[in-house]
Amino acid sequence: MGMTITEKILAAHAGLDEVTPGQLISAKLDLVLANDVTAPVAIKEFKKLGREDVFDRSRVALVPDHFAPNKDIQSAEQCKLMRDFARQHEVENYFEIGQMGIEHCLLPEQGLTLPGDCIIGADSHTCTYGAVGAFATGVGSTDLAAGMATGEAWFRVPESLKFFFYGDKWHNWVGGKDLILYVIGKIGVDGARYQAMEFDGEGIRSLSMDNRFTICNMAIEAGAKNGIIAPDEKTLEYVKGRAKRDYKVYKSDPNATYAEVFEIDVAEIEPQVAFPHLPENTRPVRESTHVKIDQVVIGSCTNGRLEDLQLAARILKGKKVHKEIRLIVLPGTQQIYRQALAEGVIDALVEAGAAVSTPTCGPCLGGHMGILARGEKALSTTNRNFVGRMGHPESEVYLCNPAVAAASAILGRIASPEEVA
């Protein structure tokens, strides 16, 4: 019987020839990760397990990115707890401020998430790594503690949904963000609950790695266990020179079984905006231009990569941010930041009036660096627009791609890039 890429990776890590959806397995883990919000709880549980050491110092990653650089005393204590743990257990992949980036931008960049890997992370956007052809899923802190101790985790093998993007008649300014928002708009925030979302087709193959990371990053917003894209030459090019260990490329068999297959013509997809308070509330940007906004955020594990910043700079270069808009830009990692500096991207953004920050999750989850007041509206390239996500429970968040965000920062309302190009 044929297997999907997700089934093949899980089977290989469980030491089985094959697995089928619904089967419970115990799988070996290639990487476990946590951040400054989830690690403190995981460390507390880890200590209760009475283990001397983590299962493998080279396969644990701890990244202070959520409320770091420390936003207040309590956050400083949480970061310190994680730092102390990392030092005590000689965790090799602890990233201090200055080397740190947003975890899901940083770890692929560092070659720590590789094709064929089985990864758990105490962060729901761990599914991002599916873009390199890994099985990667978010878990809570207790599961993470157990994974950190044993190097294993149990899983229920998920059914797979296939999203096949065909055609080459792209609307202008459409990217990975629009594809995934469009899908979530179609199937809903629980449309892929417990399932694997596999993205395929020439529409996906034609996209860059940065765009693919964006797509897999938001699989969780449809409730999925993981998002995944089989490796191709672009993936291997990305991994080359980064990989710190061996990896294996898996692909779905032609006769693999899917719970459902969605075939989507890329020509259907216009730049999208997700309205409050769920990512499924999507509309084309042309139907959203009446919404006046107070703040624009470009960054995050969803859209804080180099191409995202380049795209924003292309639109903002030589223009000015609207006088009633606060534009906040957060490069995903130090490497992205430096490259953007070298290319003049940061200069163009700052000249236009953007506030550029060191990498942090910051405003995406209402942590710091751009909290909203009562009644304020933000347009953001991040991934969630839940009630109170970026600040006051009566504030609103709209989600979009970096081009729409940049154009809107200029016009002071949600705008299509066509309006300023």
């Binding site: 919000v37 409320f67 309590q74 729901s124 809570g140 925030v189 417990y194 839940f386 996500r389």
Partner: protein, 164 residues
Amino acid sequence: MIEKGRTWKFGKDVDTDVIIPARYLNTSEPEALAQHCMEDADPEFPRKVAQGDIIVAGKNFGCGSSREHAPIAIKAAGVSCVIASSFARIFYRNALNIGLPIFESAEAAEKIQQGDVVEIDEASGVIENLSRGETYQAVPFPPFMQELIKAGGLVPYVAGKAGK
């Protein structure tokens, strides 16, 4: 175990940012988290919830972030269990891992109204609505999972087994 309590009803797709907003995640102390549990959905909730009360909600309860702080906050607020039409995947696992009983029943989630008093038999999954004289059926957990919940979650359960 039998859980009996007064219900608090919420809608569908209740996300973990609503259960415990990230602005309070600079601590992981259960009591501190409990003080803000569900406050963005109902500011009165943390103040008025009583020991043993039950949360009832629609589909996809606990969607969004993987923060284990969400079930921790609910449990520390005194809530004895959550009944929903369905649960988001990570929340489902987290709730069991920290020993918060959860029950899936679309019928119960639909018919129970705010303030109803209900009684749940964990072993059989039978939910009795004492206020309305109705009975609903949830799928009960297998015995090992009931033990795990009773132990207070995965870690104490594993530690307890290791000690035997």
